[in-house]
């Protein structure tokens, strides 16, 4: 029945006594691209870091309420197993400096000790790099270290690394903020292509990007989910004043 791949019900998050996320109610359907937006400190990054339980790595971080992935309570799962099902790409590209491009793509398998045959490995590497639109550029230098690529290429490598694990949901945490416009455009194109296979949540403070790339948008403000819905609607006819203010640039 649940076509919602991610469902938050009365979900709250805290850093010690600080109430960061307040009563979030939110549903994400499969194969949609959601833009998560809001001014600095609104809790958007905290929210997606709750989805893959990176939030709790900070001492004193706690949550309350329900957050389900495919009907399963995220906070009752083993966090390590959960994270294998959720892919994350960070703001700053972070390929593993001691590994080659090839190994970086399948790092999730290597590090977790999952045995694959050479053929399987080659296949996963090629597919992931193709999906990340990086294959043509690195196919002949797969043995080189990942850190020798440009920023944009490194980020696409990180995307390939996340995709290789076949995640249920892909989280992008301001994944293009640190990149130049051309690399950003390449990645935005990528997201379009990935939609058919993956569900994507992208935190961004770039409104034009949200408008270009996402199907739906969620607007967070001061820890509350103020409004969510079709991107076109949010941008042309927002229901709440706050959303209106943000979009027209009155703050943030």
């Amino acid at each position: 029945m649940e076509s919602a791949i991610l469902k938050a019900e009365n979900f709250n998050a805290f850093f010690g006594k600080s109430h960061i996320l307040k009563n979030i109610n939110f549903e994400v359907e499969k194969n949609t691209v959601w833009a998560i937006m809001g001014p600095s400190g609104c809790g958007k990054t905290t929210f997606i870091r709750c989805v893959n339980r990176m939030h709790e790595l900070t001492p004193g971080a706690t949550v309350e309420g329900s957050l389900k992935l495919n009907g399963e309570e995220i906070y009752e799962m083993n966090p390590v197993m959960l994270r294998r099902k959720v892919g994350m790409v960070f703001q700053r590209p972070n390929p593993f400096p001691t590994m080659s491009i090839y190994d970086n793509v399948i790092a999730g398998f290597i590090l977790n000790g999952i045995k694959l045959s050479k053929n399987e490995k080659d296949e996963i590497v090629e597919n992931s790099l193709k999906q990340a639109a990086l294959w043509m550029e690195v196919r002949s230098t797969l043995h080189k270290k990942g850190t020798f690529l440009s920023g944009g290429q490194q980020q696409r490598l990180c995307i390939a690394r996340a995709l290789s694990m076949n995640p249920e949901i892909l989280l992008l945490d301001e994944a293009t903020s640190a990149l130049d416009p051309i690399s950003t455009a390449k990645i935005e194109e990528l997201i379009h292509e990935l939609k058919s296979e993956y569900t994507i949540l992208m935190v961004t403070h770039n409104m034009q990007q949200a408008a270009r790339v996402s199907d739906k948008t969620a607007f967070f403000y001061l820890g509350e989910l103020v409004e969510s819905g079709n991107t076109k609607m949010i941008f042309t006819n927002p229901k709440h004043e706050r959303t209106q203010d943000y979009i027209t640039g009155h703050f943030g």
């Binding site: 790595l57 959960l82 294998r84 099902k85 892919g87 700053r92 972070n94 001691t98 590090l111 990180c158």
Partner: protein
């Protein structure tokens, strides 16, 4: 008026130049001892180095052809055991301190490491004597190794902590987000990325203890014969340098010069290896 100011400025400029001269002179003077020492040791030592030197045992006074083979073997053996004891423990503690930066235990641990680093080496000798030599009923290479291991620990711990602290947090996050458990993240990502700094720290700590004498005086104690038994007293390069240097026999002085040169060469080589490791294994972010 102008003349006065000009004179004053000229005077100040003179002082300025003179000062720089003093500083440079003082610095060069400070480095003189090093050159004198190295030059003297190499001059005296080079004549002592021959095949016999490496392969023979020390001979009684008056006989020629003595060597330091037992001391060389002893030094290496003691060091090997020290490394086995100190390196894993030191790296693990370094990992702890870099990962758990702020906790009461971390605070006291760091304090303990600092204090340990400042303990005079002769006192370490006393400690190991009470902890190991007495219960064992005698001197041994093993007790010498434990003493040296204690002295290696602080520098290994500190350099491991420093190296790992420099690694960006995003490295850890990237691994954790892939569903890699924390312990594997540390062992397979963080430590390998910092391996250059960690190895450098280890090599430098070896270079530091290889010449230590005081902690061996009443632990390894010394042995005029060849021995590879860690449970028995053993000779070592610094020990024989001390014994032969303070003896009244010229033959033995010669051996001591040769041993000194050997020791200095080993330290120099270790330092050079460190520079090479730093360059070759440098990991870029």
């Amino acid at each position: 008026m102008n003349m006065q100011i000009e004179k004053q400025i000229a005077h100040r400029n003179k002082k300025n130049k003179a000062f720089k001269g003093v500083i440079i002179a003082g610095t060069i003077l400070s480095t003189l001892p090093l050159l004198l020492i190295l030059f003297y040791i190499f001059k005296q030592g080079i004549t002592a180095i021959n095949w016999d030197f490496f392969t023979n045992l020390p001979k009684p006074v008056g006989e020629t052809g003595g060597g330091v083979s037992n001391a060389l073997v002893g030094s290496i053996l003691i060091l090997l055991v020290s490394c086995v004891l100190a390196i894993p423990v030191g790296i693990v503690i370094g990992i702890y301190l870099s990962e758990v930066a702020k906790s009461r235990l971390a605070y006291y641990c760091r304090l303990a490491v600092d204090v340990l680093q400042g303990i005079p080496s002769i006192v370490i000798g006393i400690i190991i004597y009470e902890w190991i030599v007495r219960p064992m009923g005698g001197f041994s290479a093993f007790s010498g190794s434990v003493a040296l291991a204690l002295m290696m620990l602080p520098s290994i711990i500190k350099s491991t902590e420093e190296t790992l602290k420099l690694l960006p947090e995003s490295l850890k996050e990237a691994s954790l987000a892939l569903g890699v458990p924390y312990y594997k993240t540390v062992l397979k990502i963080i430590v390998p990325t910092g391996i250059s700094g960690i190895t450098t720290g280890v090599i430098l700590s070896i270079a530091r203890v290889i010449g230590e004498t005081a902690p061996l005086l009443f632990t390894a104690f010394g042995n005029p014969f060849m021995s590879t038994n860690i449970l028995k007293p053993i000779s070592s390069l610094p020990l024989i340098i001390f014994n032969y240097a303070t003896s009244p026999y010229n033959d033995w002085h010669q051996l001591a010069w040769g041993a000194s040169m050997l020791l200095i060469l080993m330290i120099l080589i270790l330092n050079i290896i460190t520079k090479i490791v730093q360059r070759k294994w440098k990991v870029q972010f």
